[in-house]
């Protein structure tokens, strides 16, 4: 394992003892995971009752929008990995640049969603277009709400990074925001195939 890998991606605490970020953020992350697990059950139950609608549904959606959102979130998440690695080296200006890059890329998500929904509505795909689209709007807009909290968190840690609050000895707030942001990544990596790929 390279030194960069250890420095950039692994927490320095002893194995099995660290809580990345802080305990509070993990309560929040696990609550969101439970919430989405229930929403996934809604998806599977609706799919079981209306298999034909779920087989045809993805054909009508703009795959490019879903793919763009995935690429934006994954790249934004990568920026937060680099931000956490940078603050561990006390490279504060570099940290700020990575956090701002993560924030800007993350803001691309609501922008793409806006145009996607506008395109959908222009093609007659609104919440009443069928069970597949009702579930699609319910789950993806719910995810967008959680992404909005994440974006607010990134804006908050960007401000605090600019103010010089974080250092290699105390960066739990920055890491907590990164953990939540990666959590929203994981959820989108599930939602994307549910609505754009799986039939």
């Amino acid at each position: 394992m390279s030194q960069e890998m250890t420095a950039g991606l692994r927490a320095p605490e002893p194995i099995g003892e660290s809580v990345p970020g802080n305990r509070g953020i993990w309560v929040g992350i696990f609550c969101v995971l439970v919430e989405f697990l229930l929403l996934f059950c809604v998806y599977f139950i609706a799919k079981a009752h209306h298999p034909a609608a779920f087989e045809r549904g993805p054909d009508q959606l703009a795959t490019v929008a879903g793919v763009t959102i995935t690429l934006l979130l994954l790249t934004s998440g990568y920026c937060m990995v680099k931000a956490v690695a940078a603050i561990r080296r006390d490279a504060r200006r570099t940290t700020l640049r990575w956090v701002l890059a993560a924030l800007l890329l993350g803001l691309g998500y609501p922008c793409v969603k806006f145009f996607e929904i506008r395109w959908n509505v222009a093609h007659g795909i609104d919440g009443a277009a069928g069970i597949f689209y009702t579930v699609y709007y319910y789950l993806t807009l719910n995810h967008l709400v959680h992404v909005s909290w994440g974006l607010l968190g990134l804006a908050w840690v960007a401000t605090r990074t600019a103010l010089g609050v974080y250092s290699s000895r105390d960066y739990s707030g920055l890491e907590a925001a990164a953990m939540y942001w990666h959590g929203t990544d994981v959820l989108w990596l599930i939602l994307f195939p549910f609505f754009y790929v799986l039939r």
């Binding site: 390279s2 960069e4 890998m5 950039g8 991606l9 692994r10 927490a11 605490e13 002893p14 194995i15 099995g16 003892e17 660290s18 809580v19 990345p20 993990w26 696990f30 995971l33 697990l37 996934f40 059950c41 599977f44 139950i45 799919k47 079981a48 009752h49 298999p51 087989e55 993805p58 795959t63 879903g66 793919v67 995935t70 690429l71 994954l74 790249t75 998440g77 990568y78 937060m80 990995v81 680099k82 690695a85 990164a178 953990m179 990666h182 959590g183 990544d185 994981v186 990596l189 599930i190 994307f192 195939p193 754009y196 790929v197 799986l198 039939r199």
Partner: protein
């Protein structure tokens, strides 16, 4: 020549898997092959983000188990819903 770091390799792998998913979205047909591939993509991409972006391999075991369990359970749900959709429909029908 600059060599790619570990974070860059993971990022590029995730992008490549996403583009593979995009290709499937345009060409895939309902059936077991698509179901297994989608379940696999969810499990692999989820583990990549959890293990490498969140660096969860060194975290408290409870955090690690819950996150790993989440990205294992969901692909299993994908497979179950495809193969046993009639069972799921029966147990979720109110009469």
């Amino acid at each position: 020549m600059n060599r790619l770091g570990h974070a860059e390799k993971i990022w590029l792998l995730l992008l490549a898997l996403t583009l593979a998913g995009a290709w499937l979205a345009e060409t895939g047909h309902a059936g077991w092959p698509l179901t297994f591939v989608v379940a696999g993509l969810i499990a692999i991409k989820g583990r990549l983000v959890i293990d490498h972006y969140m660096a969860i391999t060194t975290a408290h075991p409870r955090i690690r188990r819950i996150l790993h369990g989440f990205v294992t359970l969901v692909p299993l749900m994908v497979i179950f819903s495809h193969g046993w959709g009639d069972v799921l429909r029966r147990i979720t029908t109110l009469h």
